[in-house]
């Protein structure tokens, strides 16, 4: 029997029972659709995560933060239990006292990102670059206008950052004595016109790191109560006045006594002397930068943070901050490690955490999320499996009925020369064809659904996470199609085995008996 006939005869049999074939195929199609969709989403999400996380080297980035590390405490020798008691009782009481003593004593030490620790991080194997991120509050003085300001470093390392410059230039080196001002900070200190921005370039900005309190010790309000709160501009100006007033008392026409009284009053009730300025340094203003645009905000998560008033070059910022004894002890807020290869990220994370510091990396996130995805997609695949199983039961039942209905036809085929194996093969192929057609239709349906499905997920991610995904979250590599068809054809062939054996065992004499 020719191969073409092994295909043609079952196909024509299916075609002669169109409605039954359609209904049977629908069940397989549904199972194939769910299986294809779940495999496609699984593959697509993994590809999307890897694609998105490889942007800006984020997949090789490890963020390190201060942590805590347990320390050995030798308290056992200190605890003695006096009194007359049995040795067992003494041991029990001593054990509880030791535990209490340990709980009271600090058994963990703070692990800060100090200069020596930063150096040791930079020397770790597989580390290409270590970028300390300095951040904090300072007092910035342009001309004679001191202003509280937030400062950070690190943004200068980001290749995307220069796009946000609206005047001046980016840093040329990591240790130059330059500073970039944010557009809003410039506006706050009175640089309103575009020409003001150009004129401030090259001017010196003094940065001071002071003690806890570095603002004015009193408020100035307007006499008109209805306008006491004042507009925003008025508030800023009044604050500047309060700031500068203590240093300008001598210029007023006051007696020495009045000046001394005011100075004492402005120092505060505690009469505590103002904290001396810890660190001060001058930087040249080289540029003005704007905030993120709406488009840039979508990928802001992958870049260095740069939403402070001032940005300093990395080494200059570290030098400035570590000149302050308090900051020398506290260390920086975080450091970014760039690993040479994504394969080594996990090893670096383990080493960082062994040193007592905390870390964050996209690889850890992926590992954590992968388990969630595995559970979800495993569930979906189970649903697909159940759907195919149910479909196979339907196929077995339908084919059994078909064999019973076609007994005479089977008898005729035997009478004209069909052997048992030929008949069995024809029925098995008939079942397999249902699986093949249903599988193909299911794949087509999954592929069609992927377009609106992908658009919906993208809109959700953009709305909730401000991330613009590139590429589809559905993926249809060749192996998915092969897997789906393998399962659908396999399941339907197995379902057809018993009916096909029944067909082969039909007795032609009985089947052809003339009634």
């Amino acid at each position: 029997m020719r191969w073409i006939d092994l295909l043609w005869l079952p196909l024509s049999s299916l075609g002669q029972r169109k409605m039954r074939t359609c209904l049977t195929t629908l069940g397989v199609m549904f199972g194939a659709f769910v299986l294809a969709a779940s495999l496609s989403i699984d593959e697509g999400v993994q590809q999307t995560i890897e694609r998105e996380s490889s942007k800006g080297n984020i997949s090789r980035k490890v963020t390190v933060m201060p942590g805590r590390r347990p320390v050995e405490t030798a308290v056992a020798d200190d605890v003695k239990v006096s009194g007359r008691m049995s040795s067992d009782r003494r041991a029990r009481i001593r054990k509880v006292l030791v535990e209490q003593a340990r709980a009271r004593k600090s058994d963990q030490e703070q692990v800060n990102l100090t200069q020596p620790r930063l150096d040791s991080l930079a020397r770790m194997p597989h580390i290409n670059q270590m970028v300390p991120i300095v951040g904090g509050g300072v007092v910035a003085t342009l001309g004679n206008r001191p202003e509280e300001a937030s400062v950070s470093s690190g943004a200068g390392e980001d290749p995307e950052f220069p796009k946000r410059l609206i005047a001046g230039r980016a840093f040329k080196s990591e240790d130059e004595r330059s500073v970039l001002l944010s557009e809003m900070f410039a506006h706050r200190i009175g640089l309103i016109d575009d020409s003001d921005l150009d004129q401030v370039l090259g001017k010196p900005l003094r940065i001071e790191i002071r003690g806890q309190e570095h603002g004015p010790r009193f408020n100035i309000v307007l006499a008109d109560q209805a306008r006491a709160s004042g507009k925003r501009d008025e508030q800023a100006a009044l604050r500047q006045l309060a700031w500068q007033l203590p240093g300008a008392l001598e210029r007023f026409s006051l007696t020495e006594e009045e000046t001394a009284t005011l100075k004492a009053a402005l120092r505060g009730k505690s009469a505590k002397k103002a904290e001396p300025v810890a660190v001060v340094d001058d930087f040249q203003v080289v540029g003005i930068f704007r905030d993120f645009s709406d488009e840039e905000r979508k990928t802001a998560w992958s870049q260095f943070p740069a939403n402070t008033d001032l940005v300093l070059p990395r080494r200059s910022a570290v030098d400035l901050f570590f000149r302050d004894p308090a900051h020398r002890e506290q260390g920086v807020n975080q450091a970014i490690l760039f690993v040479d290869d994504i394969k080594n990220v996990k090893e670096v994370v383990e080493k960082v955490e062994a040193l007592g510091m905390r870390s964050r990396s996209i690889v850890e996130f992926l590992e954590r999320e992968r388990l969630t995805y595995l559970l979800i997609f495993g569930g979906m695949t189970c649903v697909a499996g159940v759907a195919l199983l149910v479909a196979s039961l339907g196929i077995a039942n339908t084919m059994l009925m078909s064999v019973l209905e076609r007994r005479r036809e089977i008898g005729i085929m035997k009478a004209v020369g069909a052997s048992n194996w030929q008949l069995q093969t024809l029925f098995v192929i008939e079942g397999g064809l249902i699986g093949l057609i249903g599988g193909l239709l299911g794949l087509l349906l999954a592929w069609s659904i992927s377009f609106p499905g992908d658009a919906w997920v993208r809109s959700m991610v953009q709305r909730d996470m401000q991330i613009e995904l590139t590429g589809s979250i559905f993926a249809f590599p060749g192996w998915i199609a092969m897997t789906v068809l393998f399962f659908t054809v396999g399941v339907t062939v197995v379902a057809a085995l018993y009916p096909s054996r029944l067909a082969a065992r039909v007795d032609p004499v009985t089947a052809l008996r003339h009634d």
């Binding site: 029997m1 020719r2 073409i4 006939d5 005869l9 024509s12 002669q16 005479r408 036809e409 008898g411 005729i412 085929m413 035997k414 009478a415 004209v416 020369g417 069909a418 052997s419 048992n420 194996w421 030929q422 032609p508 004499v509 052809l512 003339h514 009634d515």
Partner: protein
């Protein structure tokens, strides 16, 4: 008996003490009891008898549709008892052509598809078998009904299709089980004439099962009468 398909001795059919029993031990039916018969090549033999005499059972055994419970059966030089299931299927396709009282056509297939069916199972190429089927249908007067289904034909036309199917593989033996039983007398004569013409032209052996004594006497060389599963008598046509 050998199983090499060689009938050099001129005997097309040789049955030796063939018996057939149906049913379980509790309800056995002995359809044939020690039937022995020889049919020469090209001979036309009628198996005559009432309903239940065993004539259809004997025909089914001769056609390889069933196996005897006892005795030996040699058809077209082949010992049917020695053949495997696959060899028996091939025998049915190539060595014998069977015509049934109820036509036994596949209702969902056209005339030409029904006639090509025996050739499908022997692996003949599609183009060849289509041509052979068309020629055979034309030879039985159904050249204009190639693509009609059985429900679109009369009884006589359906039986002609069945005759064409039996002849298409050029078997050496034709087995006809009451081929005119479902036809009116005129159509019956036409169909019978068709069968006999072919038999005469090609020199094939014919075994005709019938309960019609007149038909048996007029269309065959020998009449074998069966009663209760045994051969009661044989009469040669003069």
């Amino acid at each position: 008996m050998g199983s090499d398909g060689d009938s050099a001795d001129g005997v097309a059919i040789q049955a030796a003490a063939v018996g057939k029993v149906y049913g379980s031990k509790k309800s056995q039916v002995e359809a044939l009891r020690g039937v022995s018969i020889e049919v020469a090549e090209g001979e036309r033999v009628a198996l005559l008898g009432k309903s239940g005499s065993g004539k259809s059972t004997l025909l089914n055994l001769l056609g390889g549709l069933d196996r005897p419970s006892s005795g030996g059966l040699r058809v077209d030089g082949r010992d049917l008892g020695q053949l495997s299931g696959r060899e028996l299927a091939r025998f049915r396709s190539k060595s014998v052509g069977m015509i049934f009282q109820s036509f036994n056509l596949i209702a969902s297939r056209s005339a030409v598809e029904n006639v090509t069916l025996p050739m499908v199972f022997t692996g003949r190429p599609p183009r060849e078998r289509r041509a052979a089927a068309q020629a055979t249908l034309e030879s039985v007067g159904l050249g204009s009904r190639l693509h009609h289904r059985p429900d679109q034909m009369s009884g006589g036309e359906r039986q002609r299709v069945a005759v064409a199917r039996a002849l298409v593989n050029r078997p050496r033996i034709i087995l006809a089980d009451e081929p005119t039983g479902n036809l009116d007398s005129q159509t019956a004569r036409q169909v019978m004439a068709l069968i006999l013409d072919h038999v005469r032209e090609s020199g094939v052996t014919l075994v005709l099962v019938t309960h019609d004594e007149e038909l048996a006497a007029s269309c065959t060389d020998r009449v074998v009468r069966l009663v209760d599963g045994r051969i009661a008598d044989e009469s040669q046509r003069l």
